[in-house]
């Protein structure tokens, strides 16, 4: 047994080092270079910034309407997330607990949205949004997470949850004279908080990070969201400004990282659920 000990230590050490290099170093590199000048980004990688140029973080707001991009992203992610949770909680509850003709068919139909990559329908969807007068606006970016695959997935999670809730709760509420909406609002929604938070985390991450949709549905630089904005840190003719791009990237990641650090377990639970989605 004892001769295996050093081997074990070596394996553990190697695993820790490799994992750190692969999963932490890229972020570290990004932070370091967000504080370098453009010229200092080049050359052998260093562990610390050379000139500690904090102005980079001010400059990104001059190169692009970056504050506007942050606001846009917050708005899209906020509306998209709230809409997603409300709409899917309602339908998830109905599909689980209320009996009505066509329920099974409609539910299966809705689930087809789950497997519908947005890439498949993006072309006609673009023409449709244009027809509704929504081109170059943020509305499509809010509508898609509510009603597209992300919405269907939230509905699926809510339904699975409501199926496990004992009937007695609801019956008691109904006997107390609560309406269907009242029952949902005062009894069922409060107990579904864990699912709601999972659905909200997933919807928020998805909308915060989405790239293809803003690429297609927004045109002018004022309407950009963060991922699109990051890929656009070039000078006016397309050459990347690495130091600014890194500062902007860092700034866009930091809020997400902070949220993740605080709610680690919750976020991981939510993501693990998403992995087994249908």
């Amino acid at each position: 047994m004892s001769n295996k000990r050093p081997l074990r230590v070596a394996v553990t050490a190697a695993a820790l080092i490799i994992a750190t290099l692969l999963f932490v170093y890229p972020f570290w590199w990004m932070l370091v270079n967000s504080l370098n000048t453009a010229a200092e980004v080049f050359g052998p990688p260093a562990l610390l910034p050379k000139s500690w140029r904090f102005e980079n973080y001010a400059e990104i707001f001059r190169v692009q309407p970056f504050a506007r991009h942050i606001l846009n992203t917050l708005l899209v992610a906020g509306v998209g997330t709230i809409g997603n949770v409300l709409v899917s909680a309602l339908s998830g509850y109905a599909f689980a607990r209320l009996r009505f003709p066509g329920r099974g068919f409609l539910y299966v139909l809705l689930l087809t949205a789950l497997m519908m990559p947005i890439e498949v329908i993006i072309v006609p969807l673009f023409f449709q949004m244009r027809g509704w007068g929504l081109s170059d606006s943020l509305y499509p970016l809010m509508l898609i997470p509510i009603f597209g695959a992300q919405g269907a997935f939230s509905a699926f999670m809510f339904r699975q949850f409501f199926l496990t809730v004992p009937m007695e709760l609801e019956e008691a509420a109904r006997l107390d004279g609560l309406s269907y909406l009242g029952t949902f609002r005062h009894i069922m929604l409060p107990i579904a908080k864990p699912v709601a938070s999972s659905a909200a985390i997933l919807a928020f991450l998805a909308t915060w990070n989405t790239y293809l949709e803003p690429l297609v549905f927004t045109t002018s630089v004022q309407q950009y969201t963060l991922p699109l904005s990051l890929s656009n840190f070039n000078d006016s003719y397309g050459e990347p400004q690495w130091h600014l791009q890194m500062a902007a990237t860092a700034l866009s990641i930091i809020p997400i990282m902070v949220v993740y650090m605080i709610f680690q377990e919750k976020v991981r639970d939510a993501m693990v659920n998403s992995g087994v989605k249908g």
Binding site: L16, L109, I121, Q128, A152, V272
Partner: protein, 301 residues
């Protein structure tokens, strides 16, 4: 009599409430998903060009063109290669890490935390950083690091073969965390007495995995594999930002080809035909998954 009338009225009320509750979602679904999906097919039967404003019904001509379009065939192959590389690497690496974490060795909490960092990061940010790290020559940090070990690294994103591997690698790192945690959950849920009994019977290391753990984990492995396959069909931001489909079209995958045709050369009808093929593939995989899931749950019970 009176009772059944009330019951009927109640049933009607319940149905009304049910329809009202699902109305927003179903209506939105029809408008945002179903109508465009039908339109994808309709578009694919037309010669549509956004630039020239053409829109002529041409039947299945776009599909016939697919067969002779070298780049489409290549994109189909690339998608296949991408999935065939990504899925095994991802699943095996995730499984190994989960087994390692399951031993609760030193630093496993730390690893569980950090492998999730890329998962919550946007694919765009992850691709931008890695594009720089993977520069060719000795300019990029990855090659600089390899040079310290005496290895001359390739021009990762600009050489055929390496470019595809780099993109796969990027995606694996980005999404590994999710699969690790799913496997980790399954590992922790393995019946301890079975594993313990096997250990007493002399099973260790690989034999333990092969005969005891692998069968127990099989349902999870199957599910994760298929979900990863479907996810791998959708790689867009990584490709667009890291390789732009190059070099020599070696990383041009189907989703990116759809985008290219629709929004670079403006052939929206033809792009819709490619999207239809993509849809058929995803649909097949999804059905396979549902069938498999049914069997697996059956087996589990």
């Amino acid at each position: 009599m009176k009772h059944s009338l009330t019951a009927r009225r109640n049933a009607a009320m319940e149905a009304m409430a049910g329809y009202a509750f699902i109305l927003p979602q179903v209506l939105g679904f029809i408008l945002i998903v179903l109508v465009p999906l039908i339109n994808v097919f309709v578009f694919s039967l037309h010669n549509r060009n956004m630039l020239f404003g053409t829109n002529i019904f041409i039947g299945l001509d776009n599909y016939a063109r697919l067969l002779t379009d070298g780049l489409f065939v290549q994109s189909l192959k690339n998608t296949l290669v991408f999935s065939l590389l990504l899925v095994p690497i991802n699943v095996i690496a995730a499984l190994l890490m989960a087994l390692y974490l399951g031993e609760a060795g030193f630093g496993s909490r730390y690893i569980r935390a950090i492998i999730f960092l890329p998962v919550v990061t946007s694919g765009v940010a992850w691709a931008i950083v890695w594009k720089y790290l993977l520069q060719g020559g000795t300019a990029g940090p990855v090659n600089w690091f390899l040079a310290q070990l005496g290895i001359a690294g390739p021009n990762w994103l600009n050489e055929k073969g390496w470019a595809m591997l780099s993109v796969v690698f990027n995606r694996v790192l980005k999404n590994l965390g999710t699969n690790v945690l799913i496997f980790y959950g399954a590992v922790m849920n393995m019946p301890g007495e079975v594993v313990e009994a096997a250990r007493i019977d002399g099973a260790h290391g690989f034999s333990m995995f092969r005969w005891i753990k692998a069968p127990l984990l099989m349902p999870t492995i199957l599910m994760v594999t298929i979900v990863t396959v479907i996810g791998s069909m959708r790689v867009f931001d990584t490709i667009k930002l890291m390789t732009d489909g190059g070099p020599e079209g070696s990383t041009m995958v189907m989703v990116y080809y759809v985008y290219h045709k629709a929004f670079r050369t403006f052939e929206t009808g033809y792009a819709a035909a490619i999207a239809t093929v993509l849809f058929a593939i995803v649909l097949t995989l999804t059905i396979a998954q549902w069938v498999l899931r049914k069997r697996v749950t059956h087996y589990e019970q």
